[in-house]
């Protein structure tokens, strides 16, 4: 296969890579290298994922039987709250942008680093501070408000709620720093010839994500600050006992947290575009549509928050508008899904590990997204709201979508990050185990949800027992899948085969340099002459 892109590495002598460039713990703690910061973030989010995952296993274990199985109601409420908080704020929001995006964004742009390397490191440390605060809140008794912190419950209940909200507040800053850095990097640090129309779709996705991070996170910040003030000073903004409006909090909260769900999915969609093209050896179908739909999602996502509040007592009229806008934001996602499917057409499809996860994404995210239609429709949401149907919906999009994309991306860039290949056979076993386990766990939840099983229930009526038990058994398969994955990935660090510069035959700039890259990425800033998906085909070069 010929490489026409300028600057592609020739397999040859390896130079000192970024992992070896400097030695010792201090060289990591003080690093401003985006790749090292990415790796530190990666280690952190994998740990928080494990923590959140263990909480999830405990939640499911408790629900194995009605009534008390392994813990009491108060403990259960703390565990599921923590599961949600950890997964959302400590894992999924930083997972793709801060861990993987940090590593690949400058490489994809042909840049030596992000625009503000020190801000990047600051973001990581702010993240650490937020994490420590959150863990402190856990040790100090935990909070049982649900990840949504709804008032007046959160304003009145005992426990370290202020500490937990301040943790989320601090974590928000870390997210803002990353987003701000990425926007400036994409605008200002592109290599010569790398026009907007030649950017990898991962970059477009990270750019759109960053817009949301910068625009929405401050609102969460002020919301949490107000909640903390409400608890400390009883200022009477949310607390009805002090003349406040409890439903106002929900508007504030969802104004951030709905866009936040797109902070979670957009980078995953970016990874999808990379995986589908690379493993089909084919240009992406509908580049412009995918790029622009990311931006469309980012913009419209600010206008739909009220769909979480259809039965909160807001006016029928508001419900109507939010329902309508919700459907508008579904269309750009639909466009992407269909474009990825079309990209497979007449490709040269490899089923390497990353692609297995990409195909899972396609199927699972479609289910998650389509079930969002039931929820966006007013007449059906009234019945489904706050039942396990919603729980299943968001696990299909967040786990079936974002987590599979994250895992796919991890397997895709792993050789680039660490210079090692992993065991493909075990990877296949793990992905199949996950696929089965996931569907067993969460498909059952759609059924019990529409049958009326409310969420955040420690206890349940007899008729749901069978479904709950099947669901819990599914999680054991998920757990096994991740355990296996952890095993072969860690093993690869020690004994994996050396990775070539471009193991997958991909076309974007990060594959043009050695694996792992040198400290400053490129000896010479490359000049870009073509788009990132210009694969040669049997019928000539890609047509746009």
């Amino acid at each position: 296969m010929s490489m026409t892109q300028a600057g592609f590495a020739h397999e040859g002598a390896q130079e000192t890579n970024y992992l070896q460039a400097k030695k010792g713990l201090m060289s990591w703690l003080y690093t401003v290298d985006h790749k090292r910061i990415g790796v530190m973030y990666l280690a952190s989010v994998l740990s928080t994922f494990l923590l959140g995952g263990v909480m999830a296993l405990l939640v499911r274990a408790e629900l194995f039987t009605a009534g008390e199985t392994i813990m009491g109601a108060d403990t259960y409420n703390r565990v599921f709250t923590l599961h949600g908080l950890v997964m959302v704020f400590l894992f999924i929001i930083p997972a793709i942008p801060a861990a993987m995006g940090n590593f690949v964004l400058p490489l994809m742009l042909g840049a030596k680093d992000v625009a503000f390397p020190r801000l990047n490191l600051a973001s990581f440390y702010v993240y650490c501070v937020g994490t420590v605060m959150a863990l402190y809140a856990v040790v100090a008794g935990g909070v049982d408000t649900g990840w949504t912190f709804y008032t007046p419950y959160s304003a009145s209940v005992n426990g370290p709620v202020v500490m937990m909200t301040m943790a989320a507040f601090v974590l928000g800053f870390s997210s803002i720093f990353t987003g701000l850095n990425f926007i400036v990097t994409v605008h200002k640090m592109r290599a010569p010839g790398l026009t907007w129309g030649r950017l990898p779709l991962m970059v477009w996705a990270l750019y759109a994500t960053s817009i949301i991070q910068v625009m929405a996170t401050p609102v969460l910040g002020i919301t949490l600050l107000l909640l903390a003030m409400e608890r400390v000073l009883h200022v009477g903004i949310f607390d009805p006992a002090m003349g406040g409006d409890p439903v106002l909090f929900q508007h504030f909260f969802w104004f951030y947290s709905h866009p936040a769900v797109y902070i979670m999915i957009l980078p995953g969609m970016g990874i999808m575009s990379e995986l589908v093209t690379t493993f089909s050896r084919k240009t992406i179908f509908g580049y412009r549509a995918i790029a622009l739909s990311s931006i469309a999602i980012a913009v419209i996502s600010f206008l739909v928050w009220g769909h979480h509040m259809f039965v909160s007592g807001q006016s029928v009229y508001a419900g109507m508008i939010f329902s309508f806008l919700t459907f508008l934001v579904a269309i750009p996602s639909a466009i992407k899904v269909l474009n990825w499917t079309a990209t497979l057409y007449k490709g040269s499809i490899s089923l390497a590990a990353p692609m297995q996860w990409a195909l899972q994404f396609l199927i699972l995210f479609t289910i998650g997204g389509l079930t969002g239609i039931f929820l966006g429709t007013l007449g059906t949401d009234v019945h489904l709201h706050d039942t396990y149907f919603v729980v299943a919906h968001f696990h299909y999009v967040m786990v079936g979508g974002t987590v599979t994309a994250f895992v796919g991306g991890l397997h895709y860039w792993w050789p680039k990050m660490f210079g090692r290949m992993y065991n493909e056979k075990l990877a296949t076993v793990s992905s199949i185990l996950f696929f089965i386990g996931f569907n067993v766990t969460f498909f059952t939840q759609f059924v019990m949800g529409s049958q009326g099983m409310p969420r955040r229930y420690y206890n349940y009526v007899e008729k749901f027992q069978t479904l709950h038990q099947i669901s819990t058994m599914g999680t054991w398969l998920i757990g096994a899948a991740f355990l296996l994955m952890a095993g072969y990935l860690i093993a690869s660090l020690k004994s994996g085969a050396k990775a070539p510069a471009n193991p997958w035959g991909a076309r974007s700039l990060e594959w043009a340099i050695q694996s792992p890259p040198i400290e400053h990425n490129f000896h010479e800033i490359p000049t870009v002459q073509e788009g990132p998906y210009e694969y040669p085909t049997t019928v000539g070069p890609a047509k746009h």
């Binding site: 910068v214 009883h234 009477g236 504030f252």
Partner: protein
């Protein structure tokens, strides 16, 4: 006086790329600041619309004179910081180092003056009990829920006050570097960004003043 030449960051091609990146970054940061305050403006609007009479009455108990003085103080400081940026931009061989230093110094002084006035305002309110939430004990406003007005008042002016303090810190850092001769016509990004930040702090006050004191 002399100047110290600035080193462009290793990952940039040029000083122009570096300074335009820094500026874009600053503007984005200012957007986040505006959005942070926007949440408070929403809370303001909601509470005002639910208790309009209480609001009007409570608002008239604020000290408009002090508010006006502070507005003038901040507008003046915006002007001096703008002059400071101008001085840095036209600083050729270090001949404007001194001017730059004094302009920044006056700006910081004005910021301090603002805080002093605020201190007198706050301590009066603490004294008579115009306080947020349960701490409220003032009996001069014949409306229920007047504590909600003061909740919003203290949150908004308090958050703004914190920004004034941060702004003073930033400007002091710029001042120290100016003293060392770091800024000249070829490099004045920190002065410019510090100035932008200070303008934002002023601008927020320009909204707070009429909304809280005059409505």
């Amino acid at each position: 006086m002399s100047i110290v030449k600035h080193q462009v960051g290793h990952h940039f091609f040029s000083g122009a790329q570096e300074s335009s990146s820094a500026k874009l970054g600053m503007w984005l940061f200012l957007v986040t600041e505006v959005l942070l305050f926007s949440g408070l403006f929403v809370a303001y609007t909601v509470i005002k619309s639910t208790n309009p009479e209480m609001w009007a009455e409570a608002s008239s108990h604020l000290d408009t004179t002090m508010g006006t003085i502070n507005t003038i103080v901040l507008i003046t400081s915006s002007f001096t910081v703008a002059l400071a940026v101008r001085a840095a931009q036209t600083n050729k061989n270090g001949e404007k180092n001194g001017q730059l230093f004094w302009l920044l110094f006056v700006t910081i002084l004005l910021a301090g003056a603002f805080l002093v006035v605020k201190y007198f305002e706050y301590s009066h309110k603490f004294h008579v009990g115009m306080l947020p939430g349960e701490a409220y004990f003032y009996d001069g406003i014949p409306h229920a829920n007047a504590h909600r007005f003061f909740g919003v008042y203290f949150l908004m002016t308090g958050l703004h006050g914190i920004h004034v303090v941060i702004g003073m810190g930033v400007l002091t850092w710029v001042l120290v570097r100016a003293r060392k001769g770091h800024f000249y016509e070829g490099y004045y990004t920190p002065v410019e960004l510090g100035g932008l930040y200070w303008h934002l702090v002023d601008l927020i006050w320009i909204y707070l003043f009429p909304l809280l004191y005059l409505v």
